[in-house]
């Protein structure tokens, strides 16, 4: 595990992607394949604690470190508060072992030490963890604790790892990305298959990595859009607020993959049925939406959310929130990869295919006509009325790329809705913000009380974050674990994409993508907005 701990430290330290990539390449070149498989899985966001039976929860770890470090419980909590990261706190509270640092490889640690006691009695699990704490030096101890508490979060994107693997193996990055989609088991066999030059049967069942649009600022006006050139070179579509998905029909079988790399089969039987009737094998990129049969606009996102949560939807839910796919793009037809054709051509073929099907459950995402950027900007203003988030701008000649690449596809959202909320609670952030209170909860007035309505993590600059952090520390009213409550004093303007009614939230309201727009130092808490004002925006 030393080698992987050293990689972790290296990634944690470097600020440039070139350095990170070099460290990854060096690691994958040198590590035994059994280790490399686990390393790849962990760097891709795999969590031992979540996917397998739990080894220790946060409460147990804190209790065990109290005994092992000899510090009282309140002091351990103070330290956790101060450090902001549990894995790191646990590592910091112990001295390094006097003996030579343990030298067993990563896969041995995971397969023989970590996984066997998972789900066993507390005494057994505790023994395994404490034994590790006593034998591992600081770097390995920190990594070990990270494996216990969740994801590594070391600032490495999936794409960066794939670039490193491509550089090292000479295999095309698109193929590597495709082979890594969905759930996979870290094993030497997976690693070998991932990096083989041969065509594998599985290569044909996988979706393609999604091509993602880059944002234009909502506030950007036509002068920014105009820099993109002639409007005639672009295809304009609505930006639908659903779930991006690939609908795969190969050899008569249908699979649905979400952008979150999850297979959705069973959850949307009406879509699978419609896809079964497609005339030809194909892979369609589109947006999954909940959409009532006679409606002219989609149902709010919360309706779709109910559908995703239900593995086997009942008749009532199917009727309440019927699903629909709006097709954007055609990536494959009769087994031929179309991604390098220009978009206009892919879309033409897609239109023919979807027209033949003649089923509203799989329809073409309509184009938005505009003679010039001024008209495009005006059409964008209709977005909220239509229940969409704004416009998509796609270059007619664009090929279908991998991941978020700037230049050919842009999303141009509408200006967010705003409301002034009062800071109620704060919690420390992650990564470079782990020693600061940066996760905030805001409330609105309901009668004499403030009701929490939104959590936001971003929008303040570093100076404001520091100032607010100091104020929170000095004005804490109560602590609930890592969360602190503060006096209702500071008001912030919050922006969000949409407001929906929700039975799952205490306020009766769910906001989409909340973030802080600015600190309203000019406003006293009493003048913050009322819950009713937010409800009026809801649909």
């Amino acid at each position: 595990m030393k080698r992987f701990a050293a990689l972790y430290r290296e990634l944690d330290r470097s600020t440039g992607t070139a350095d990170k990539r070099a460290a990854l390449v060096a690691y994958f070149r040198e590590a035994p394949v059994e280790d490399a498989a686990w390393a790849l899985w962990l760097l891709s966001g795999g969590k031992l604690a979540a996917s397998r039976a739990r080894i220790a929860n946060s409460r147990e770890l804190r209790a065990w470190i109290v005994a092992e470090s000899g510090q009282p419980e309140w002091l351990v909590e103070d330290c956790y508060d101060h450090v902001g990261d549990l894995a790191e706190t646990l590592a910091l509270l112990l001295d390094d072992p006097a003996a030579e640092d343990d030298d067993r490889p990563l896969h041995v640690w995971i397969e023989r030490e970590l996984l066997p006691p998972a789900g066993a009695d507390e005494a057994l699990r505790r023994d395994a963890v404490v034994r590790a704490w006593r034998t591992l030096g600081f770097d390995q101890r920190l990594l070990f604790n990270k494996l216990l508490t969740g994801a590594l979060r070391v600032g490495v994107s999936q794409r960066l790892v794939q670039q490193a693997l491509a550089e090292m193996s000479g295999i095309d990055i698109a193929r590597i990305a495709q082979r890594m989609l969905g759930a996979w088991t870290p094993s030497p066999r997976f690693m070998r298959d991932l990096l083989t030059v041969e065509e594998l049967p599985g290569d044909r069942q996988q979706p393609y990595p999604f091509f993602l649009a880059s944002p234009l600022e909502p506030a950007d006006g036509i002068e920014v859009a105009a820099r993109l050139g002639e409007v005639g070179d672009w295809l304009l579509e609505w930006k639908w607020d659903g779930i991006r998905l690939q609908l795969i029909r190969r050899g008569g079988e249908v699979a649905l993959w979400s952008r979150g790399e999850e297979r959705l089969e069973g959850r949307f039987p009406e879509i699978e049925a419609a896809a079964g009737a497609l005339a030809r094998d194909c892979v369609i990129d589109g947006e999954l939406l909940a959409w009532g049969e006679r409606e002219d606009r989609p149902l709010p996102f919360t309706a779709l959310q109910k559908r995703i949560q239900r593995r086997k939807p009942g008749i009532r839910l199917l009727a309440e929130a019927p699903a629909r796919v709006l097709a954007y793009d055609l990536l494959e037809l009769d087994g031929t990869d179309l991604r390098t054709l220009p978009l206009r051509q892919r879309r033409e073929t897609l239109a023919t295919l979807v027209d033949q099907l003649a089923d509203p459950r799989i329809a073409l995402s309509p184009l938005v006509d505009a003679r010039d950027w001024t008209e495009a900007a005006r059409r964008r203003e209709d977005a909220r009325e239509r229940g969409v988030e704004g416009l998509m701008l796609k270059r007619r000649e664009s090929v279908y790329q991998v991941g978020r690449r700037r230049g050919d596809w842009w999303k141009w959202k509408i200006e967010p809705l705003t409301i002034d909320g009062v800071l109620l609670y704060a919690q420390s952030g992650h990564g470079r913000r782990s020693t600061l209170f940066t996760d905030y909860t805001f409330g609105l007035w309901d009668g004499e009380a403030l009701v929490p309505v939104a959590k936001a993590y971003s929008g303040l600059d570093d100076r404001e974050i520091l100032e607010l952090d100091r104020w929170i520390r000095a004005h804490t009213l109560e602590r609930f674990g890592p969360v602190r409550s503060v006096p209702a004093e500071h008001v912030f303007e919050l922006g969000f994409e949409a407001v929906n009614r929700s039975s799952r939230h205490k306020s009766g309201i769910a906001v989409r993508f909340p973030r802080i727009l600015r600190w309203r130092r000019d406003k006293p808490a009493a003048e913050a907005d009322r819950l009713d004002a937010l409800k009026a925006l809801a649909r």
């Binding site: 944690d12 330290r13 002091l75 330290c79 990261d85 001295d95 470079r432 913000r433 600061l436």
Partner: protein, 333 residues
């Protein structure tokens, strides 16, 4: 009978000893000050007279100019008012001392800033038995435990070599008085390649050299020829130089910071240093607790830093503890 007065009280102008009618490291002008060490938050301008150690004198002269200085040898008692006072090494920086006060059958010790790790630039901390111990608590949480400085200094040299291999300079930020000189003294044991200094550090280095402290050979960045390539050089600079125009001359450079705060990853990442090196001139948690035990004090007053935790931990272990809100800062931040 009224309760006996404390030997040291917190006053708006600083820590005050009524029995001896003097202040310790006051932050406002007073007639008579005993100074623990030369850092700006402990030694300020405007006092009627300054009592200090022989080691502190050159630093005070450099920072405060000519004043009415009274110099005292370590452990040699002197009378101030009705108090018997002596100065004892604190191990923080050159000349740093604790102040021992004896009056009315009681002994109090004010630590100033201190550390217990070895430091070739100053006399080691000397535990002094007392009834009441006034301690700093800059790093008063058990997550603060220092690694061996010799190991850290080796890491610094390794880092410089890695930078050299990449054609980059290694700019190490550190406090200009004390930390920089300690690093240079420790570095002398593992390398003989000279270090380059920012102007703000060079002056303090000269004061240490004049006091006879052996350190790595140094040159001033300002005196290097224009446009030279600094690749592979180790350069010491104050934290305030980070992101300043002064940095531009290094073109490709990595940055590091030497401070106890670098023990936490979040602190390093938040400030965007490439590397953090854990070297502190303050006591870590185990040493704070050990020091309190070694003084035998039955009462402890914590002055600055994470005082809440140390006060509660001591109270729970049977030592009466409280905190003073002072204006002392933290030169490592």
């Amino acid at each position: 009978m009224p309760a006996p007065r404390d030997l040291v009280e917190l006053r708006p102008e600083g820590l005050y000893c009524p029995a001896g009618d003097f202040h310790i490291d006051p932050w406002r002008p007073v007639p008579r000050a005993v100074i623990t060490h030369g850092h700006g938050d402990h030694a300020r301008i405007g006092m009627g007279e300054y009592h200090c150690s022989a080691g502190s004198l050159p630093i005070l002269r450099w920072r405060l100019g000519e004043q009415r200085y009274h110099v005292h040898e370590h452990g040699a008692p002197f009378e101030l008012g009705g108090a018997r006072v002596s100065l004892h090494p604190a191990g923080h920086v050159l000349g740093s001392v604790q102040v021992r006060i004896e009056a009315g059958g009681e002994v109090w010790v004010a630590s100033g800033d201190y550390k217990r790790q070895p430091d070739p630039t100053c006399a080691p901390f000397e535990p002094v038995r007392c009834d009441v111990f006034i301690t700093e608590a800059t790093f008063g949480l058990p997550v603060y435990r220092w690694p061996d400085t010799r190991e850290v200094v080796r890491d610094i040299v390794d880092w410089r070599e890695r930078c050299a291999a990449r054609g980059e300079a290694a700019v190490l930020f550190c406090y200009a008085l004390g930390k920089a000189q300690r690093l240079l003294a420790e570095l002398a044991a593992v390398t003989d390649r000279p270090a380059l200094l920012h102007g703000a550090i060079a002056a303090g280095v000269q004061v240490y050299r004049d006091a006879g402290i052996a350190m790595l050979a140094t040159r001033a960045v300002a005196e290097e020829e224009k446009g030279r390539d600094f690749a592979g050089e180790l350069i010491l600079a104050p934290p305030s130089a980070a992101g300043s125009p002064w940095m531009r001359r290094f073109r490709g450079a990595q940055t590091g910071f030497a401070s106890g705060w670098m023990r936490l990853r979040g602190n390093r990442r938040r400030r965007n240093y490439d590397r953090g090196f854990v070297v502190s001139d303050h006591a870590d948690w185990p040493d704070l607790m050990r020091t309190v035990r070694e003084t035998g004090a039955r009462r402890v007053i914590a002055t600055h830093g994470s005082t809440d935790a140390i006060v509660r931990a001591l109270n729970e272990s049977g030592v009466a503890a409280e905190a003073f809100r002072t204006s002392f800062g933290d030169e490592e931040a």
